[in-house]
């Protein structure tokens, strides 16, 4: 079922920051004009082994369907994952891929991206992988602004280890490892990413192919780290946590659409900002029109995006969806390449290395 999340759709309509000359795929070899790949080209021969009904299937289908749109050579696309149900993702895509170790995918992908300008590098991770064991790598990849697209499948539970609470599970959630309810306060992945100064932060949902694809498109277009939180249903251990967002009527009332230049609203409610910058949801009829928030993902200051991310509530009363932030900043990998390029004086020869080894103080012993 598809809900209208107020996202632009179709190639070419992705929001592009006007200051951002290079796209996320600049430098990656493209297919020759007139040639195109299909979803099938991105489907590997491996049998997909998620549980029946898992939200991962929908995300995989959306990604496989979206990748041809990039027009890139397939061999220049790499998916790197960590550990968890979602991290099996690379096996099912016929690109280059690495299924790495728990939490480390952003670090591994950073080394790859830093050394290979000609690759489109994607990280697939989950709430446990990215926010628990790999929290450090996630925030540092984001603050460095490495040109990586990080897809965080959030199902608010540990699936692969069979049902323990995760860093996004709500307080009181009863799981195998929290029989009396989880004591941990959850992370809000969007707030966390914004706090880490991520330059692109978005949220979407497994079941909404169109919205998901639009977000992927914008993420791919963005040069720098893109954190895409994808609400994903785990029918086995945490079934239905996002169901209210999948019901058309409920969704209309709860989902706050984030569309560039438009008011942030859900049904007959709008988001208003007070003098302190705190945002709340108010009935449109009662809202002071001058205080209604008009979304600007390109705002330099992340405060407004952060305030939007705080509108979340555990009961999913209001859920902002879409692109919270999309700003252009120099990327770590581009800057590293620039430093090297400006230091270089041409091809390194044996004589250059000889001179390097000799250093400044040498003496010669004659026979």
């Amino acid at each position: 079922m598809t809900t209208d999340l107020g996202m632009p759709s179709g190639p070419g309509s992705a929001p592009v920051d006007s200051r951002d000359a290079a796209s996320g795929t600049t430098g990656v070899p493209r297919l020759a004009d007139g040639t195109a790949l299909t979803k099938k080209d991105f489907t590997s021969d491996q049998e997909v082994r998620w549980c029946p009904g898992c939200g991962d299937y929908a995300i995989l289908a959306a990604v496989q369907g979206f990748l041809p749109e990039l027009g890139l050579k397939r061999e220049n696309i790499v998916f790197v994952s960590g550990i968890g149900c979602s991290s099996r993702f690379p096996y099912y895509l016929d690109t280059y891929g690495m299924h790495s170790i728990h939490g480390r995918a952003p670090a591994i992908a950073t080394g790859l991206t830093a050394t290979r300008e000609d690759l489109s590098v994607w990280v697939v991770t989950g709430d446990g992988d990215a926010l628990s064991i790999g929290g450090n790598h996630l925030i540092h990849a984001l603050r460095r602004n490495v040109n990586l697209k990080i897809l965080l499948f959030n199902n608010e539970i540990y699936g692969l280890t069979k049902g323990q609470y995760s860093p996004t599970s709500h307080v009181g959630q009863v799981t195998k490892s929290s029989p009396l309810g989880s004591l941990d306060r959850p992370f809000n992945p969007v707030s966390l990413a914004l706090g880490a100064e991520a330059t692109f932060v978005a949220r979407t949902m497994d079941s909404d192919r169109q919205h998901l694809t639009a977000v992927l498109r914008a993420a791919a277009e963005h040069r720098g780290s893109a954190l895409v939180e994808i609400y994903q249903n785990c029918p086995i251990f945490n079934d239905g946590v996002f169901d209210v967002l999948k019901d058309r009527t409920e969704a209309a009332a709860r989902i706050l659409h984030l569309t560039d230049g438009e008011e942030v609203a859900a049904g007959d409610t709008v988001v208003v900002r007070d003098d302190q910058g705190v945002m709340t949801v108010a009935p449109r009829a009662e809202a002071d029109p001058t205080r209604i928030v008009v979304h600007d993902p390109a705002a330099d200051d992340p405060s407004a995006a952060f305030a939007l991310s705080r509108l979340d509530s555990p009961d999913l009363g209001h859920v902002p969806m879409g692109i919270f932030r999309n700003v252009a900043r120099p990327t770590y990998d581009d800057s590293l390449r620039e430093q090297i390029a400006s230091a270089r004086t041409g091809e390194v020869t044996d004589a250059d290395i000889d001179a390097l080894l000799a250093g400044r103080d040498t003496w010669t012993v004659r026979a």
Partner: protein
């Protein structure tokens, strides 16, 4: 021109000691450089506290730099100093115990104040109470003479002038041992290029120290140590960390791969990060990662992309990297991990040396996870071992752990420069084409189809059309690399990974034995940084008339193919190690030879004299023992 007596010496050991803030490391470095340029062979041992500035004037705050130079080849920084330069009472107290009677002490009397004496528990100044009678004491008011020499520098504060006292001491020692100071002068000129006042003050203090030696009556004699006879060639002085850095750059160049270093700062490895970070001109990419795990992760990611991925660390960091190294074992990708060992466990002794990570390097991972392990034996050998590590990593697509240590890292010696073009040819070939056909005869790529000789799998980097494949830490089916939980396949793959590492022995040099009389019955085997002290001890034991053989392992996994044969050729095998017997345990387990372990974990290298006693005792015991049974 000096009219004083000049006396010739064949070797000298000097120790510069002072407060951490006194600039003793710099002083030692400069003196070393002067000495190297003069053509002496040399070896150095810096020794400094873990605290950047421990409380001033206290024993824990003492920093020292020892240098051994000679007109013949030098193997160690020397067991005991002939000259101690003590810049304060703490430096005197901390080092006096190492000073043989008759040695010289140059003391900075200005620092022997009541307060400073009290800080280190001297009730009366040792300069006044006759307690230093066994040594030649040269009291010099280093600080005040230096300050006086800078009287014309009216813009400098007294504190700034005092800071030049180390240059005064360097000048004095340079005169005493007839060292040229031009190198130091040009060094200062580039260091203080944008602070002309400070530069001039340092130069003035240096000259004042030199002139002081020449004019004062306290120093009646100066010394000369003639250049050592060294192999023809061009030399420089080099520390282990710099040699290792240069080795990585040269090896990457020879391999035709971009060098990527992912590293997190840690003592005593950080200098490699600093050195490589300054070599962007050579295409070197360095990343200071958020932690040790990210450092090795980024390196592995770079290797996946076809770069030479390297990470540098020390013991605690190696522990953190273990899981990623295990992934690299499974992915079968090149990765070079440099562990500059320090005292452990845990934080241990960050600035002191030890070689207790050998078993961690070999076995510190989950599952059967074999990796190649190599260890340099001297500071300059760090260069060659880096090239060897890269050769093994790229040829066999495996992680290689390099076990250097604090002693090699910071110690220095003359290094005969190799020619880049003559380094081993380690050019790498990436896979470019499918290597198999599927059931229908269509070309396919099998990422785990091995080279029959090396058992290495193809290195197919992203961007290569037609070779798209997935790798991961889950067990893979032989050949295809697809996920496999099959019991027989896992058994097979586990043995294959081991066989690949074992097979490296085919391409490494056999273990060489130095047994000049060819009839020694005692063999001393070492690994890593103990080479110098062991060789010096063996030399001394031989000088005492003992017949001793020496062998040194640079490859710890796998061992050279003839290792067992070598060990079994001797009646007694002694293995000195700066741990509690890790190599001994490996050799015993693998070769069933009754190794005698001799160990020390004091954070300092072995004293050659002590080791010589151990060896001599062993030699004496075999020569008294009944002769070996001969074949009937």
């Amino acid at each position: 021109m000096s009219t004083k007596l000049v006396q010739k010496l064949d070797r000298v050991v000097i120790r510069f000691a002072g407060d951490s803030g006194d600039g003793m490391q710099l002083t030692g470095d400069r003196f070393t450089s002067e000495t190297a340029l003069l053509g002496n062979d040399l070896s150095t041992l810096p020794n400094f506290p873990a605290e950047i500035r421990a409380p001033q004037g206290t024993l824990p705050g003492v920093s020292s730099f020892q240098l051994h130079f000679a007109d013949h080849d030098v193997l160690t920084p020397g067991d005991a100093p002939d000259v101690l330069v003590a810049m304060n009472p703490a430096a005197l107290r901390a080092n006096l115990g190492d000073l043989p009677r008759g040695a010289s002490i140059i003391v900075n009397t200005d620092e022997f104040t009541k307060r400073n004496l009290a800080k280190v528990g001297y009730a009366v100044s040792p300069l006044d109470d006759g307690s230093l009678e066994a040594w030649h004491v040269h009291p010099v008011a280093i600080t005040s003479i230096a300050v006086e020499a800078l009287a014309s520098f009216t813009d400098l504060t007294r504190k700034e002038k005092e800071r030049a006292k180390n240059m005064f001491a360097l000048g004095l020692l340079s005169w005493l041992y007839t060292r040229p100071t031009e190198g130091t002068e040009s060094f200062l000129k580039s260091k203080f290029a944008d602070r002309p006042e400070i530069l001039e003050a340092n130069l003035a203090a240096l000259r004042a120290g030199y002139n002081y030696g020449e004019t004062t009556e306290d120093f009646a004699v100066s010394y000369e140590v003639a250049p050592a006879t060294m192999r023809e060639g061009t030399y420089r002085n080099v520390t282990g960390n710099v040699a290792l850095s240069l080795g990585l750059v040269a090896a990457a160049h020879r391999a035709g791969l971009p060098l990527f270093l992912g590293s997190y700062p840690i003592t005593p490895a950080s200098d490699i990060l600093h050195t490589l970070a300054g070599l962007k001109r050579y295409g070197v990419a360095t990343m200071q990662a958020e932690d040790e795990i990210a450092g090795v992760g980024a390196a592995l990611g770079a290797s996946f992309g076809g770069a030479l991925g390297v990470t540098t660390t020390s013991g605690p960091g190696l522990a953190l990297k273990a899981e990623t190294i295990g992934l690299a074992v499974s992915l079968e990708l090149p990765l070079v991990v440099c562990d500059i060992q320090r005292g452990g466990p845990s934080t241990g002794l960050p600035t002191k040396t030890e070689q207790a990570d050998l078993l961690q390097a070999l076995f510190g991972r989950n599952g059967e996870s074999p990796v190649a392990v190599v260890a340099p034996s001297t500071p300059s050998d760090c260069f060659d071992i880096a090239v060897e590590a890269v050769r093994i990593a790229t040829t066999y697509r495996t992680p290689v752990i390099v076990l250097s240590d604090g002693y090699l890292a910071n110690g220095s010696e003359p290094w005969r420069l190799p020619r880049t073009a003559e380094l081993p040819d380690i050019a790498v070939e990436f896979a470019t084409e499918p290597n198999a056909v599927d059931a229908k005869g269509a070309p396919v790529f099998h990422p785990y189809l091995r080279d029959p000789e090396t058992l290495a799998r193809p290195w197919a980097v992203p961007g290569t059309p037609g070779l798209e494949h997935r790798v991961g830490g889950i067990e893979k089916a032989d050949v295809t690399g697809n996920i496999s939980y099959d019991p027989d396949n896992h058994d097979h793959m586990t043995r294959l990974r081991q066989a690949k590492i074992d097979g490296i022995a085919d391409t490494i040099a056999p273990l060489a034995v130095d047994d000049p009389t060819r009839d020694a019955e005692v063999l001393v085997v070492g690994w890593g940084s103990t080479y110098g002290p062991i060789a010096a001890a063996v030399r001394e034991a031989r000088a005492r008339g003992g017949r001793v053989a020496q062998a040194h392992l640079r490859h710890l996994n796998p061992f050279p193919a003839n290792t067992g044969e070598v060990l079994r050729g001797y009646q007694r095998v002694i293995v000195p190690e700066m741990n509690l017997g890790q190599l001994s345990m490996l050799l015993r387990a693998k070769y069933l030879v009754d190794i005698e372990s001799h160990t020390s974990v004091r954070g300092l290298p072995f004293q050659a004299g002590d080791l010589a006693d151990v060896i001599s005792a062993a030699v004496a015991s075999v020569s008294h023992a009944p002769l070996k049974e001969t074949a009937q």
